[in-house]
Structure formats: C-alpha cells, structure tokens
C-alpha cells in the first residue's frame, strides 16, 4: 500500500512544473536558430570592438601604463572619451555581455551535441534494417527494379554494394529480404567533432584567454629584469645585432636573450618570427632604440657608482633614449653630481658621437655643453672622467597565452569536423527484395549532398544492368 502524504499533490505539481521548465529550456538551447542569433550577436560585438581601441587587461595592474593609455584615448576622442568609457566601448572584448553570449553559445552547442547522440548511435551501431514499403517512396532518392529469383538477386546486390565499399546488414522476413547498407561512417562523426571543437574554442575564449598577459621589457645590453607578472622569471638581453645587406638595408635584427626560471638559464638568439619560449612565456623582439653606456672614474682612477634615472647604483649606467638627441638623467651620488646626457651618433664614423651634457643643480638644468667623443674616450667633467659607449637597447615583449595551443587545436578540430561533414557524408541505403520479384531501393546522405544524386543514379543503373543479365 502506498501512503499518500497530504503534500503529495503539491510536490507532484511542482515536480511537473520543474520538468516542464527543464524541457522548455532544453528545447530553447537546442534550437539551431539560437545558434545563428548568438553567432551574429558575437560577430557584431567583436566587430564593434575593432572600431575602438580596447584597453589591454594587463593595464589594470599598472597604474602608470593605464594613465598613459587613458591619456592617449583622451587625446584621440576628446570630450567623448568619458561617454565612450561609460558605455564600455573600450572594454568590449572583456565585457560581461560578450561572456554571457559565449556561455549561451556553449550551452547551445552542448545541447545540440547531446540531441544528436541517440540518432548517431542508431545510425552507426544499430540501424533499422527492415523498413515498411511506404518508407521507400518517402525518401528523395528511390528506385524500383525487377529482379531475378530472390537468392540470386541478393547475391548480385551484395556484390555491387560491396564493390562500392558499403557495409551491409541483412534481415529475412515474411515480406522478403531487407538490407541496410552504409558507408563513410567516419563522416557521421563530423558534426560531433565540429561541436566539440567549437565547445573547446569557446571554453578557451571564456576561461583561458583572460589568463593571458603580456608586458614590455626594455633592456640595455647585459641588463636583467624580473617580469611583473611572474616575478620568479628573469630576462636578460645582450646587445642587439643588426645584420645588414651590402646596401645597408637591415636583413635581420637579433638579440641574444636569456631567461632565468627556477634556477635554469635558457639562452637563444631572438629575432622576428623566432621568440624564446620558456615555461609557456614567449619573449618576442618588439623594437629597439639608442642607448649609451656611461662610466665615471675620479682623479685616482677609482670607478664611481652611478644611478641612471630612478634606477639603482651601479658602476656603469645604461641610458636608454626614445630617440637620439633626447636627454636622460644620470647622477653620481658620491660627488653629488647630477647630469642630463644626450647623444647623436656620427653616421659613417663608427664609434664617434656628439655628446651633450647639461648639469642639474637643485632641480635646475644648466646650459648644455656638447663634445665630439670617440667611443670609450674620457671626457672630464668637474674632475670626473666620463666615458661614453653608444649602443642599442631592445624592447622585448613577454607574452603568456595558455589559450594558443588549444585554440589552434580546436580550429584544426573544427576544420576536420567540417571536412568530414562536407566531403565524406555518411551515406545510407535501404533495400528490400520482395517475394514478388521486385527490388525496392532508397538512399540518403547526411544533408542533401549534390554528389549523392549522381552516385545513387549510377548505382541504380549498375544494379538494373546486372540484374537484367543475372549478375554476369
């Protein structure tokens, strides 16, 4: 005896409502039209993002860089900048709405994939062999052929279909002999592969891509810096080498770069199209600029500690310039000397440069004194011998993007899936040899593939001919 609780009806009603809602949601997310709408919405969203500069996510952790980026935006859009920012036009590719659309696409793909599984299983594992006679006239590709006695007809049909690489299943019953033939089984998996690849792609874009970061590192020759995003990893660059063609046109820029991670140093010449990748972090050669190595010695020949800009004291200061002719500050704490230095290299006279020095006292900049110096030759300033060696610095781009491999893999998966669906469509035939000497034949391919028309017509012609000649 089943005990009937007083709240049983309410419970059943609620369970019914939940199931109904679940079915509606399942139907909603399994709708192909939803996929089309989501694709269009994502495409429009992304397209809009190309019309406005998008704030790089890594700027959030760098106040100075963020301020610089915002200043550039204000210079470009003027008073409209704030309005655009309020509308989120500078952060479209990181917007919650875009992620919402992507998650919607993910659900849509998952439900569509799940919906297709039972039919796929039936088609590949346990196809229905015997079909009613009406079925043969419903399919677009069908034919009816007069055949010799049953066993002979079955043998002829088997031979023909096996020649065409069909896999066959027979069932014998009161209504004759039924046959199911299929080929290109792998093509039936095309949609599944496409859907799973698309899922992987969307998962990447939603969850992996935000983990990516990139930062620029400016390094003078021999300088080492720790990465902001991964402080346990240090990068060091040696002097940039510019290989030139006989006419002076640069043929290649290369810089020996060392990455020190977990106590292991990895060194490689980095050039355009050839980054150094360590622990998933790629170091790319982004650009370069002029630099000056400066050393100072006192009257006794003792090396003096120097400080370049806001850096730390060292026996050698490396001044990095935006361009030749601009000034950089260097100080010698022990002599309470502060200088602004600029230089222009003398083209065609290797190692010769014009160095300009401006003294700085209590924040005031004095008049510039320019001298033509040979690289490494001392220039005496207030009793201190300064030497200058022109060189270059490099700007490296450190990039960590865990989504790259999976995005490329899912793109390849998408391609394979689409190719299988389009070029190797799963083709199926049903046949029945009736007791009254007729062969009913019908066929279909996944989708309405134009090539199947011709294939079916050719097959019917061959069957007709061989049946007429008794298989000879």
């Amino acid at each position: 005896m089943v005990k009937d609780y007083p709240w049983g009806d309410t419970m059943r009603r609620w369970m019914g409502r939940i199931r109904h809602l679940g079915r509606k949601l399942w139907r909603f997310f399994g709708d192909m039209r939803l996929a089309v709408i989501l694709f269009i919405a994502i495409a429009l969203f992304s397209l809009l993002g190309t019309f406005f500069p998008q704030q790089p996510p890594e700027l959030a952790a760098d106040a100075a860089a963020s301020a610089g980026w915002w200043a550039a935006v204000q210079a470009r859009y003027g008073p409209l900048s704030r309005l655009y920012a309020a509308l989120g036009l500078f952060t479209l590719h990181d917007a919650v709405l875009l992620k919402f659309l992507l998650v919607g696409l993910l659900l849509n793909t998952a439900v569509c994939t799940a919906n297709r599984l039972p039919a796929l299983r039936r088609a590949l594992v346990s196809p229905q062999v015997a079909r009613p006679e009406a079925f043969f006239s419903v399919l677009k590709h069908n034919a009816q052929i007069s055949v010799p006695p049953r066993q002979q007809a079955v043998n002829i049909l088997t031979n023909i279909l096996r020649r065409h690489r069909y896999r066959l299943l027979w069932r014998e019953g009161d209504e004759g002999v039924a046959l199911h033939a299929s080929r290109n089984h792998i093509g039936a998996l095309g949609t599944q592969i496409t859907h799973w690849s698309l899922t992987l792609l969307v998962v990447n874009l939603v969850w992996m891509y935000p983990l990516a970061w990139r930062e620029e590192i400016t390094l003078g020759p021999g300088q080492t810096r720790a990465l902001r995003h991964r402080s346990t990893v240090q990068v060091r660059a040696e002097r940039l080498v510019i290989e030139r063609l006989p006419d002076g046109v640069p043929r290649q820029y290369r810089a020996p770069v060392t990455v020190l991670a977990d106590g292991i140093a990895t060194t490689q010449d980095v050039w355009l199209n050839r980054p150094l990748v360590v622990q998933g972090i790629g170091c790319y050669l982004a650009s370069y600029g002029p630099a000056l190595r400066v050393t100072a010695t006192d009257a006794t020949g003792r090396r003096l500690q120097m400080v370049a800009g806001n850096g730390s004291p060292d026996e050698e200061a490396i001044l990095l310039f935006q361009e030749e002719g601009s000034y950089r500050e260097v100080s010698i704490p022990s002599s309470k000397l502060s200088l602004q230095v600029s230089y222009t290299s003398d083209e065609g006279s290797a190692g010769l440069s014009t160095v300009s020095i401006r003294p700085v006292q209590e924040g005031r900049v004095g008049p510039a004194v320019s001298k033509w110096v040979v690289a490494g030759e001392a220039l005496v300033w207030e009793g201190i011998a300064l030497t200058f060696v022109p060189t270059d610095y490099v700007v490296l781009l450190a990039v960590y993007d865990p989504s790259f491999i999976t995005v490329i893999s899912s793109a390849l998966g998408l391609m394979v899936g689409l190719m299988l669906s389009f070029y190797l469509p799963h083709q199926r035939l049903w046949a029945r040899v009736t007791p009254d000497g007729r062969l009913l034949l019908a066929g279909m391919a996944e989708g309405d593939w134009l090539g199947f028309d011709r294939h079916f017509a050719r097959l019917v012609a061959i069957i007709r001919e061989e049946m007429a000649h008794g298989g000879a």
Partner: protein, 274 residues
C-alpha cells in the same frame, strides 16, 4: 637572372593570351582548337612556374612574400583550377571566362603593380617565416578555387543575358561547378586562416588581433561556410549560392586591396599593413 624571369613570365602571359583568344574565338565550335587552348594554358602555367622558381632561386626564399609574387601565384592557381575544371566537366565556356579572369589578374600583376615592387628584394625580417609562406600558399590555392566558383556564379546570375551571345551550360551544371570550386577552396582557406594565426603568434605573440584584414578574412571564410552549410543542410540551390560565391571573392579582393587603407582612413587600430 631577372631577364630569365622576365622571359618566363612574358612567355606565360603570351601563352595565356593565346589560350584566352583561342578559347573565346575558336574553341567553342572546334574540338581541335579547344585542345590548342588547353595546351596554351598548360604552357602558360609551366612558364609561370619557371618564372616563380627562378625568382625564388634568385631571392633565396619561396616566392610568396610580396604582393606581386602572391598575385602571380594566384594566377597559377586560377590556371590550375581551369585545368581541373576542364577535367571535371569539359565545359569550355566556363573555362574561357575563368581564363579571362586569370588574364586580368596577370595583367594587374605585370602592369598594375609598380616596377619597383616587382623587383626581387631580400625578404624583410618580419616576412622571413615559414608560416607566412604556408599562409600565402594555402590562401592562393583557396583564391584560385574560389575564383572558379565566382566565375561560374557570375555566369549563373547573368546567364539569361549572356545566352544571347554564347552557348552556356545549363544552370544545373553551372551550379555544380560553382559548388565544386567552393568545396575545393574551403579547406585551403581554413588552412590559410590557421597558418596565418600561427604566423601572427610567432611574429607578434598574438594569434588574433581583431584587425580589419583578419576580420575580412574571417568574414570571407564565414561566407563560404554559409555557402556549404546552406547547400548541404538547408538544401539551398541556384541564385543565393551564386551570389554568395561572388560575394566571397569580392570580400577577398577588398581585403587584398583596401583593408590597410580602409583601416587607416577609419582611424582603426592597425598593427601592420601587408
């Protein structure tokens, strides 16, 4: 060396011109002349290949780096598509129209691109990448096949008007040839997208930058995906498919010629223009 390359390319252009002339004036009515036309196209293709090989040997790289080289390779893939199309259907009228397109592209390469840009130059550092060669090569293959699809699409759309002057194949044959072109080009275009993304990752550390060039390439790919999907799943036929085939090539041409300028004039963010 440059003289030899010029000789090869000149021979290729002349043979192509002969191929176009014979296919338009004589081949339609005379089977022997039809074979002369195909033979001329074969010579043109071999000479073009010779010129490109010569250029590659001289420059020390696969001749796929400059716009001039890319356009020449596209001429080659259009000629390949022509020969494959003749083998596929034997339809000379469509082939003649495709040859005309190849001749126009060849004419643009030889006369439209400035002489300085045609010279063999050492590869700039940014273009010195195997992935770029693979990207450009696969893209040229795709454009050849899509060119064939667009020509048949255009003939399909204009067949009522054109049938007054020429005996065109039936709409069904044109449709089938158009589909053949898209089916042939789509895998190449997909590979071009993937190799392009890998090249961008190797060169700039970012496989996708939402640039106009990338977006137009994606739009072109989506057009052909829509074509195949609509044909296979939705059973579209005829006119809409022909329009899509033509639209795809228009987008590809816009991308080649104007994406960089378009981006600059619209004040868009451009990392590179190539």
């Amino acid at each position: 060396m440059e003289a030899l390359e010029g000789l090869f390319l000149g021979l290729s252009a002349l043979a192509l011109l002969a191929g176009v002339a014979t296919s338009f004036l004589l081949a339609g009515e005379n089977e022997r002349w039809a074979w002369v036309s195909t033979f001329a196209v074969g010579i043109s293709l071999v000479a073009l290949l010779g010129g490109l090989v010569e250029r590659g040997l001289w420059g020390g790289y696969w001749p796929l780096a400059s716009p001039y080289e890319f356009v020449l390779v596209c001429v080659g893939t259009l000629l390949l598509a022509y020969l494959a199309m003749i083998g596929q259907s034997g339809t000379r009228t469509v082939g003649a129209a495709l040859l005309l397109l190849a001749l126009m592209v060849m004419g643009y390469a030889r006369l439209g691109i400035p002489a300085v840009a045609q010279m063999v130059r050492p590869l700039p550092p940014a273009l010195d990448s195997l992935w770029l060669q693979l990207h450009a090569g696969t893209l040229a293959m795709a454009y050849g096949a899509f060119g064939a699809a667009a020509v048949t699409g255009l003939l399909y759309l204009m067949r009522g008007w054109l049938s007054r002057w020429a005996a065109l194949p039936s709409g069904e044959v044109l449709e089938e040839l158009g589909q053949w072109g898209v089916v042939l080009g789509f895998p190449w275009m997909t590979l071009a997208m993937i190799t392009g993304a890998i090249w961008a990752q190797m060169a700039w550390g970012s496989y996708w930058n939402w640039e106009p060039k990338e977006i137009l390439a994606l739009a072109t790919w989506l057009i052909y995906l829509l074509y195949l999907h609509a044909r296979v799943v939705r059973g579209w036929r005829g006119r809409p498919l022909a329009i899509l085939a033509v639209l795809g090539v228009i987008l590809a041409v816009v991308n080649y010629f104007w994406a960089g300028g378009l981006a600059r004039s619209a004040g868009l963010e451009v990392l590179r223009v190539y």
